[in-house]
């Protein structure tokens, strides 16, 4: 009856979840998921964005609660069913469940050793700390990860990549963890560091159950013992990696090849007719993120540029918009060569950028909805002779945005933060559209918003571009959304151009494989 019996490939069962479901308004994040984690196994959790793998981990660590289902954790004295009502990260830790987050949280100005023993210093008697023991254990951790640092080095001086390793060491070695959840820890690591991490995990796994969320299929095949694939909030399969290969796993993640989605009322451009390029980029590079990238954007085209988070695709977009400086290559646009410049310069040349970090780089939290929408065009709303802002023009610009984008805002003067996430995102997009720019560079415009609004935004992009005859370069984390809205997709792997797909050759499977770096 249970999907796995006691004698699976690993050792003793550490944790079992049964029939877990989680619904958010409009979305089913998890639908009756079962999962078993065992000692001695590295268990890879894979799936597309929104497939449910992160939700599972959040539930296991007590960050999110469930609508249905239960968790059983095998503690020191036999299996204990977790009471979901009062399950939280503190309870999780008490039961030996620990998580290594995507971003390590350290006190930057303390040393490695101090950070490791910040919460629970080892004591020797009532008033003296056991410095030797703490030092020894820190040194041991550093050696485990082949890190050549002094334990007295401040975390601030440790490279980002190595902080991830240190945090893993902290959780796995120094905390009393029995079940370790690694949340996309490998995405920030280069190959050699990954090897070190997995060599370490393989050494320690005999007394720990390890679950790893990752987007890299190759990594699962190479290092994991077991893999579970999620799709649309369901567990598709759990199997030993020995029975898998890259292609099979990719197929399981992507699912059946369905028809390429399309907006019925929108038209896509015909690239075989060889339309005029409006922007062409040659040999762009910005170490260490990407190098030697060349492409062209055509009139009326929506060009998808995508890759894994660490691929360099987001940085490429930022460089194109002048947010960060290009270190090499050239961009020619409207017959002019654009030097690496500022967003101010880009805006004056008709290029605007929409950030993927709405909270830190998008909103003006103190300002009204109207001011947030008009932020790029104030100089245009000023009227002679004194160049004063015209209230009627401001409001006109606001009303236009609200009606054309179906933005739900109480009044022009309400605070931007009174809007829902989706409407805040729409406000940022309208800010860009109001500029009348000819090139829109959008990094994950659909991030963190509800499904209905996602489609509204995508449809808007598809229709706006036709009426305005401009070009869009967009990065979307979901391949399905790319297929829906793009004319062409470029994939970036490890900072280099990996593939180019025209609409006629679109297939989720092929793009997924290209992003993963399969040849």
């Amino acid at each position: 009856m249970e999907p796995e019996s006691e004698n699976g490939p690993g050792g003793r069962e550490s944790l079992r979840i049964r029939g877990i479901s989680k619904r958010y308004p409009g979305v089913t994040a998890l639908d009756g998921v079962d999962l078993v984690l065992r000692k001695g196994e590295i268990h890879g959790l894979v799936g597309k964005n929104g497939a449910g793998k992160s939700t599972v981990v959040k539930i296991l660590y007590g960050v999110t609660n469930t609508d249905a289902g239960n968790i059983e954790i095998n503690g020191a004295d036999g299996p204990v069913e977790v009471r979901m009502a009062d399950y939280n990260p503190i309870r999780a830790r008490e039961m030996g469940v620990y998580m290594v987050p995507q971003e390590p949280v350290f006190a930057l100005d303390l040393t490695i050793e101090e950070n490791f023993f910040m919460a629970n210093p080892l004591m020797k008697g009532f008033l003296t700390m056991d410095r030797e023991e703490m030092r020894d254990r820190t040194v041991r951790c550093l050696r485990d990860f082949e890190l050549d640092f002094s334990p007295n080095l401040k975390i601030r001086d440790v490279p980002m990549e190595d902080r991830h390793l240190l945090y893993t060491a902290l959780v796995v070695d120094l905390y009393p963890s029995r079940i370790v959840l690694l949340d996309e820890v490998t995405s920030a690591l280069r190959k050699n560091k990954c090897d070190i991490l997995f060599a370490y995990l393989n050494r320690v796994k005999k007394d720990k159950a390890i679950a790893l969320i990752t987007h890299r299929v190759k990594e699962v095949i190479e290092f994991c013992d077991l893999v579970t694939v999620f799709r649309n909030g369901r567990r598709v399969v759990t199997d030993s990696v020995a029975n898998m290969d890259e292609g099979k796993l990719a197929n399981l993640i992507v699912g059946e090849n369905v028809e390429i989605p399309k907006f019925a009322e929108a038209s896509y451009i015909d690239l075989s007719a060889d339309p005029k390029p409006m922007l062409s980029a040659r040999g762009l590079s910005c170490a260490p993120f990407f190098s030697d990238i060349s492409f062209a954007l055509h009139e009326g085209e929506i060009l998808g540029v995508t890759g894994l988070v660490e691929s360099g695709a987001p940085q490429l977009l930022r460089c194109l918009a002048g947010v960060e400086e290009l270190k090499g290559g050239s961009v020619s646009f409207k017959g002019k060569t654009l030097p690496a410049a500022t967003p101010d310069f880009a805006l004056r040349n008709g290029i605007v950028y929409g950030t993927n970090d709405r909270l830190n780089e998008g909103n003006f939290p103190e300002l009204s909805v109207m001011d947030n929408i008009n932020a790029c065009v104030w100089s245009r709303l000023a009227v002679p002779p004194f160049g004063f802002l015209s209230r009627s023009r401001e409001e006109e610009s606001y009303r236009e945005a609200v009606s054309s984008f179906n933005l739900k805002s109480h009044s022009p003067r309400s605070n931007i933060l009174s809007l829902s996430g989706g409407n805040q995102q729409k406000a940022i997009l309208t800010r860009l559209i109001a500029t009348g720019a000819s090139i829109f560079i959008l990094d994950e415009p659909t991030k963190g918003i509800d499904v209905g609004t996602v489609y509204e935004i995508l449809r808007y992009l598809r229709q706006k571009i036709i009426s305005k005859n401009c070009g869009i370069i967009v990065n979307l984390s979901s391949i399905e959304e790319m297929l829906l809205v793009c004319d062409r997709v470029l994939t970036i792997v490890d900072g280099r151009m990996a593939g180019e797909f025209h609409r006629s050759e679109f297939s989720e499977d092929a793009i997924f494989r290209s992003i993963q770096g399969f040849v």
Partner: protein, 321 residues
């Protein structure tokens, strides 16, 4: 609910005016002569140097910056300008002192801005160091004091029209206020200022030249500091090397009382003017009512604290989303 939000608004946005009204009534109760044209004109005239400083600092606070050295620039501008035409180059015409005074403020502001904005040094620390440095220079330049400064320099600060009843400083205040009001409220610059203060990253990405906006604010603040010094020196017909010492705290208090938030992104020039008027009126009322002068600072502090607490309440509500 509506009543509550109205009360919150009244306590925050209009608080400074409510306070001013209360002070007027209190002043009238203490001393009926408080509400006379002459005394009110006098209060406004006295407020002028403070208010001009307050406008300058308000611009900086709106972008989330600060320049503590304004109080020393307040002395440096008029002193160097007058030394120039009186001692160093007596052959220069007297009116040269006016543009030179402003220019010195611009230079100090630019320097502070350059260090804070372009080099990324903490503006608070730059201001603190410059406050000491400039004050030191001032004390070195005039160990005694500077008397008999030219009439042209004193005109704006001391001249009275209409049989000596109407101080010119009031016109100065009106002009400076109007200029600041229009620029921050009507010109795109004001919006860019608030946008930069609200979220510098987002402003930069939206194509606002955040460096230029910030440099402008620093330069204007410096210029306003030395201009305020000019008015003050003109009123006293002299400069002392201690002029403006500890003044920045009063200026900062006025700006904050006027509803400008120190972290940036929020505030109005009208509010800042109100803040300056409240502090000046308060001083006048306290003097009239024979309050122990040592207690006056305590009253200032208490009022400021209440204002900050009310603002804190509002800010917390706004950020709960």
């Amino acid at each position: 609910m509506r009543l509550r939000s109205f009360l919150v608004l009244a306590m925050t946005d209009f608080m400074v005016w409510v306070l001013l009204a209360i002070l007027m009534v209190a002043g009238y109760i203490v001393e009926p002569r408080f509400i006379t044209i002459d005394n009110l004109l006098n209060i406004i005239s006295h407020t002028t140097p403070l208010a001009i400083m307050v406008f300058g600092l308000a611009l900086l606070l709106m972008i989330g910056r600060i320049d503590l050295s304004m109080e020393s620039t307040y002395a440096l501008g008029p002193i160097v300008a007058n030394l120039l035409v009186m001692t160093w180059f007596p052959s220069l015409p007297d009116f040269f002192a006016l543009p030179v005074c402003i220019l010195i403020g611009i230079c100090v502001g630019y320097f502070n801005g350059y260090l804070s904005v372009k080099l990324g040094v903490s503006d608070f620390l730059v201001g603190l160091a410059m406050l000491l440095f400039v004050r030191g220079v001032v004390k070195y330049l005039i160990p005694e004091g500077l008397y008999g400064i030219p009439d042209s320099f004193c005109y704006l600060g001391s001249e009275r029209l209409l049989d000596g009843r109407f101080p010119v400083t009031i016109i100065v205040l009106a002009v400076v206020f109007t200029a600041f009001y229009l620029i921050t409220r009507k010109r795109p610059f004001g919006r860019r200022l608030l946008a930069t203060g609200s979220n510098r990253e987002a402003a930069f990405i939206s194509g606002i030249n955040t460096n230029r906006v910030q440099m402008t604010a620093f330069v204007v603040a410096g210029a306003m500091a030395s201009f305020a010094g000019m008015i003050s020196a003109g009123r006293q017909l002299s400069c002392t090397n201690g002029m403006g010492e500890d003044y920045i705290m009063t200026v900062l208090a006025s700006v904050v009382l006027g509803g400008v938030v120190m972290t940036g992104g929020r505030g109005t020039i009208i509010g800042a003017l109100g803040g300056a008027l409240v502090l000046q009126t308060l001083e006048n009322v306290l003097t009239l009512s024979d309050v122990n002068p040592f207690l006056q600072d305590a009253v200032f502090g208490f009022i400021l604290l209440s204002a900050i607490v009310f603002h804190g309440v509002r800010t917390r509500q706004a950020s709960r989303y």
